[in-house]
């Protein structure tokens, strides 16, 4: 198979680069993501959201995240349009377009796209292994972080196998889009059985390969990643703390909220 060409597309958005953002301590980066999400969550006044949007855009450029934004541009558009249409039409629980609904729709669309952009910024600058490391430092059990890493590694492999199965069955005349709902569901059996059995077989081999690499050896774990918090982390932490405080204040005072 021409694996490198029509094979698995990596799920990761990580861009190997030496930007200052990349060099931040993983815990700082997780905190940054959390701060952005909290800030964009508590306010809904577009003017209050604007600084967040600008900040993320300004950070995405040096981090090398613009190609990722381009890659996912369809998602940005979909999220925006969907939110705008739904809120404009259904604001206040009744069907019918309202101006208040339109404004709220715009605000929600911006917030959701901000979440998305913050997520992309985070994944552009942070390896999945760093996320696992940060979670570990924050007291989350190792196996949770490891499962996360493994998911990012396996999802593309799994999709590849599923695609092969779909193609194989279609070549035997399987039509997925025909008939009623029951008939359609039944047609997924020839897809699901090989995919699941293949995944189980592979999981079995994977468990063996894991132990062969010393997983569960009973010896203390060491980590290759060694992140040291530096001046940049202190500065970033201060900015993040301030941002969070400001946005919480905007929320409590009502200044950052749309009038109702």
């Amino acid at each position: 198979m021409d694996a490198a060409l029509d094979g698995a597309v990596p799920l990761t958005l990580y861009v190997p680069a030496a930007s200052p953002l990349h060099r931040l301590h993983p815990v700082t980066k997780v905190a940054g993501l959390a701060a952005f999400i909290v800030a964009a969550f508590v306010v809904d006044q577009p003017l209050a959201l604007a600084p967040l949007v600008l900040a993320i855009a300004a950070l995405l450029v040096p981090a090398g995240g613009l190609p990722n934004v381009r890659r996912l541009r369809l998602m940005f558009v979909l999220v925006f349009v969907f939110s705008l249409v739904v809120w404009t039409l259904f604001y206040g629980g009744r069907f019918g377009a309202t101006y208040a609904g339109f404004v709220y729709g715009v605000s929600t669309a911006i917030r959701l796209d901000t979440f998305l952009a913050a997520g992309i910024l985070f994944l552009t600058t942070t390896r999945v292994e760093e996320v696992a490391y940060a979670l570990g430092r924050m007291g989350v059990p190792y196996k949770v972080g490891f499962t996360l890493t493994l998911a990012f590694r396996l999802v593309p492999v799994f999709f590849d196998a599923a695609l092969a199965v779909v193609q194989a069955q279609r070549c035997r005349g399987l039509e997925l889009h025909r008939g009623g709902i029951v008939a359609r569901l039944r047609r997924f059996v020839p897809i699901l059985v090989p995919v699941l059995i293949g995944a189980l077989r592979r999981a079995d081999r994977m468990a063996m390969a894991l132990e062969l690499r010393g997983f569960n050896s009973g010896r203390p774990r060491t980590t290759y990643l060694r992140a040291r918090a530096g001046g940049a982390d202190v500065a970033a932490g201060a900015v993040l703390a301030m941002t969070t405080v400001v946005y919480l204040a905007l929320w409590r005072s009502g200044l950052g909220l749309l009038g109702r």
């Binding site: 490198a4 698995a8 597309v9 190997p16 070549c171 059995i197 592979r202």
Partner: protein
Amino acid sequence: MSRAAVAVRGLRCAYPGTASPALADLDLELAPGALAVVMGATGAGKSTLARCLTRLVPCFVPAQVSGDIRLLGEPIGERRVAELAGTIGMVFQDFEAQLFSTDVTQEVVFGLEHTAVPPAEMPARAARALATVGLAGFEGRDPTTLSGGEKQRLAIAGLLAMRPPIMVLDEPTTDLDPVGRAEVLRVLAGLRAEGLTLVVIEHDTAAAMDADLLLVLGEGRVLARGAPRAILADVAACAAAGIRAPDTCRVFAALGLPDPPLEVEAAAERLRAAGAVPKPPRFLPPPRPTGPPLIDVRGLRHRYATGHEALADVSLAIRPGEFVALVGQNGSGKTTLAKHLNGLLEPTEGTVRLEGRDLRALSLEQIAQRVGYVFQDPDHQLFAATIEEEVAFGPQNLGLAPAEVEARIGEALAAVGLEARDADPFLLDKGVRQRLAVAAVLALRPAVLVLDEPTTGLDFPEQQKMMALLRDLHARGQTIVIITHTPWVIAEYAARVVLLAGGRLRFDGAPRQFFADDTLLAAAAFRAPDVTRLGRLLGCTPLSVDELVAWMPRWTAPCP
């Protein structure tokens, strides 16, 4: 005498619910730094031996194990698999199952993190392991973006970083193309040079030639053990054990000559000295089938969404009754081309016509009735509870009447030689599953049968059965296209070779012309079968051992 790296005494292993043991009375002793190659047919006990050495049996796969296994003098009797990490490593055929990280360096240090290696040591160990497997400079890459051969080498590096003195490799090259295979075999030579004790399970005799010990297993027992050259020279014993003996040995055996060399150059020298000079008949170019093409590809170009141009300017016609081998390295575009033959991919430019109709105008289901496609891994399509249901699936999708479906099942199963209609497909051996997959597609009565690497992952007897099946089908008029990397399959079975390189058609002609064109073969990193190479040194181009032997003068073997 230094102590043995691996010492096995009276090993017996029986899986629950099986009548006979998977291994019985096995003794094995390997000095440090030795390379042992284990061969044998499916079910011989090769993987069981590998898994017993690493304690995967019985820790992961329940089994009754008795006997004594010592690694570096230490009994491993009650040890857990993970406790042996760093003592013995094991590589599987399935390279995807051995990678757990999204970054090459992280992958290599994974084992170190779990065996309490101080972080300060890790960078040097990772760099060294990557250099040994030829992946220096790959740091920071996502393993998902690597080729099969690179992934397998990364899996080896991940074990190597833990510095195990012993390494077991269970068919490490079976799923790789010739280039990936050569890469991994080179790494094996490197490991040997570093003094590791290696146990390698392989189907191909080429990997066994230089081993210190060849162990041939059959139904759980040792059929032969000793110097590879002596064992492989016994052609009859190899056949009995389900091993394809080297071509030079088969030629020498047929001519009654003793002590066959394994290298073709030495063999040619000996044959010349013995006066055995082949007299081939004159070959006229074989007649090409005429008539309207079944599949007509014109000016095909394909560009993937990534922008990569996988095919350019490909034109070829496949006519009724042809047996075509589609060859080329991974990335050459052959799978892309094959997926245009059955409508799974659409041309970016150019046309593909099926019996005169543009494929774009037909639905996949309509195409499926005329072009059958057997995927490489039968497990990608088997899903039913019985063989009968599995074969019935295609005809039922076509909406055929029950009586017709029944007739198709009978016909397809008879063609592939399967009888037990109620058997559970998932309990069958790989080779039988592969033939069942062929039957399931044959039941659609396709005009063209396309098979993606039909012999990959099968042992030699099953490979022969599969190819005999295709030869029978072809003799009955079936048009066949196979994608393959295996030189002897091309030489002995195909009537036409289509070579792709870099997305372009580089050769389209008879196998004899193909294997006689040394520049073409070199450029495509392709190797002719040994018997062909031997013949070329003697001035002819035989495609099989039988052919070369038939061309030899009638003579009596000289007594040494």
